[in-house]
């Protein structure tokens, strides 16, 4: 980061400190399963894989959790679902898809058998409840990433 000035701070005990911001820039091949899942998100479709016992996994399981068999049967699920569990984020991180306090939820999408984690845009913790219905809000500029779904929002506002 040539040209950036190092921000050195004098601590109370006489030591010096300077920030060190770590990041991990890498590109990896996603593999066929995750690649298909994330690509479908960019096309506003949510897809999962069907395990041998019939359960639909979203995000997709690459291998059957019980038998280890590669899973290749795909199922499109709904972009609406039910909140199974939730918790409140009072102070969002800068990397979150929402910049105001919001909820996290494990959401059982219609047609899926395993809930997936995502953010829920809610006015207050008091408006959240187990069993509430939520719907995906798609990001305007979608790349094949989980954040192609910007968040979920309560059905009916």
């Amino acid at each position: 980061m040539a040209g950036d000035k190092l921000q050195v701070t004098f601590e109370a005990d006489g030591s010096l400190s300077a920030p060190l911001t770590l990041f991990y820039p890498y590109n990896r091949t996603l593999g066929t399963t995750v690649a298909r899942f994330l690509s479908s998100l960019a096309d506003k479709r949510i897809e999962g894989t069907k395990a041998q016992d019939g359960r639909v996994f979203v995000p997709p399981a690459e291998f059957d959790p019980s038998t280890g068999t590669p899973l290749t049967e795909w199922v499109q699920v709904g972009d609406e679902g039910t909140v199974v569990q939730w918790s409140w984020q009072p102070a969002p991180f800068e990397d979150n898809t929402l910049d105001q306090p919001f909820a996290w939820a494990l959401i059982l999408l219609d047609g899926a058998d395993v809930p997936m984690l995502h953010a829920v845009q809610a006015k207050a913790a008091a408006t959240m409840s187990i069993g509430m219905r939520v719907k995906a809000v798609w990001a305007e500029d979608r790349t094949p990433e989980i954040s192609a779904i910007r968040c979920f929002e309560p059905v009916g506002g």
């Binding site: 939730w86 918790s87 409140w88 984690l117 989980i146 954040s147």
Partner: protein
């Protein structure tokens, strides 16, 4: 199997905002544990370290930690990218293979180097979860929500766990937070990160802990009353929170069953409770009877969560209850990952 015992334990100061390097933090604690055991560093056959490069901010940071041990004459050492409790497990295996008689195990971490709540998002799936940055507290909140909904943990039990941790922390002294509030007082405080109140969330801390384990006759020479590791086992649940039953800790229950926690009385159980609801989940999984067992008398990680060391500290404090004679049979537990994903359980006995 060879008889192996914990024979010494030292815990460095539990602080937040240390300006020391990892080596500077480790040296005094390693010296202290050797002093307690009355042995020299050259008596140690195997060194094993638990820490996290990501927290240190430097790849292979554990290599520089060897400076704290003294690398000449050459030593045999290893490292796990896990809490020190898992380093203890590796050292225990090393002794079982006959390659060592005495091992020094240590774990260290400096939570204050960054925002650990945010950073621990990176323990999750790198494509479908981590890029959303859910954070440790929010993920644990989902687990607590599941447990409260299923009735495996109650809000009162969470407050009681926090209340006891704060009282026991005051007695311990080497913790970040303490207090004398009753469970009722804690319950009257506001919910800040639903379902949590502030006291349900761990106080992140910087710290080091070190333990010496030794086999048979060597252990008897070092300690008046060694804490014999009768059984030790570790298990793991799936990483994906949606695939697991968060209302119970399946892997902790398997590990506890494997080591036979329930087969006899348990005088002391040092549980690695980082969030208040973990305590009841672990009591359920380990089938403990709180009326007959002293639960985490050290105060535990809720009042000073020295990431990468707090689990090993639980082993150390459980062993201390054997050293002092206050317990004949103790259980040590450590965990890692979101929502009790990985659990290690050991039974320690004085006789």
């Amino acid at each position: 199997m060879r008889d192996v015992a914990i024979v010494a334990f030292s815990e460095g100061p539990v602080t937040f905002g240390s300006t020391s390097t990892p080596v500077e933090m480790i040296v005094p604690t390693v010296h202290d544990v050797l002093k307690q055991a009355g042995i020299e560093r050259t008596d140690v056959d195997f060194w094993c370290h638990g820490s996290c490069d990501y927290m240190t901010g430097q790849p292979f940071s554990f290599v520089s930690a060897v400076d704290a041990l003294g690398a000449w004459p050459p030593i045999i050492e290893s490292h796990v990218e896990m809490d020190g409790a898992w380093a203890l497990y590796e050292a225990w295996i090393k002794i079982q293979t006959g390659e060592a008689e005495v091992a020094l195990v240590f774990g260290n971490g400096k939570s204050s180097a960054g925002d650990m709540n945010r950073a621990l998002s990176l323990q999750q799936d790198p494509y479908t979860v981590a890029p959303l940055w859910p954070g440790m507290t929010a993920m644990e909140g989902l687990g607590a929500c599941a447990a409260l909904q299923a009735g495996t943990v109650t809000e009162r039990q969470m407050a009681e766990a926090a209340s006891r941790a704060r009282r026991d922390g005051a007695k311990n002294g080497n913790v970040l937070v303490s207090g004398n509030e009753s469970a009722d007082e804690l319950l009257s405080r506001p919910v800040t990160a639903a379902p949590f109140r502030d006291h349900d969330i761990p106080a992140m801390a910087d710290g080091v802990s070190a333990v010496i384990i030794a086999t048979g006759d060597v252990a008897k020479k070092i300690a008046k009353r060694p804490a014999w590791i009768r059984a030790i086992d570790h298990r793991i649940d799936h990483q994906n929170l949606g695939w697991r039953d968060l209302a119970r800790s399946t892997s902790a229950a398997i590990a506890a069953s494997e080591v036979g926690v329930h087969k006899d009385k348990v005088d002391v159980a040092e549980l690695h409770t980082t969030f208040s609801h973990h305590e009841q989940l672990l009591i359920n999984a380990l089938q403990l009877r709180p009326d007959a067992t002293s639960i985490t008398p050290s105060g535990g990680a809720l009042v000073g969560n020295t990431l990468m060391a707090a689990g090993l500290s639980r082993f150390g404090h459980a062993a201390r209850s054997i050293f002092s004679g206050s317990a004949d049979r103790a259980v040590a537990h450590a965990q890692q990952g979101a929502c009790l994903q990985q659990n290690i359980v050991a039974v320690l006995e004085g006789n």
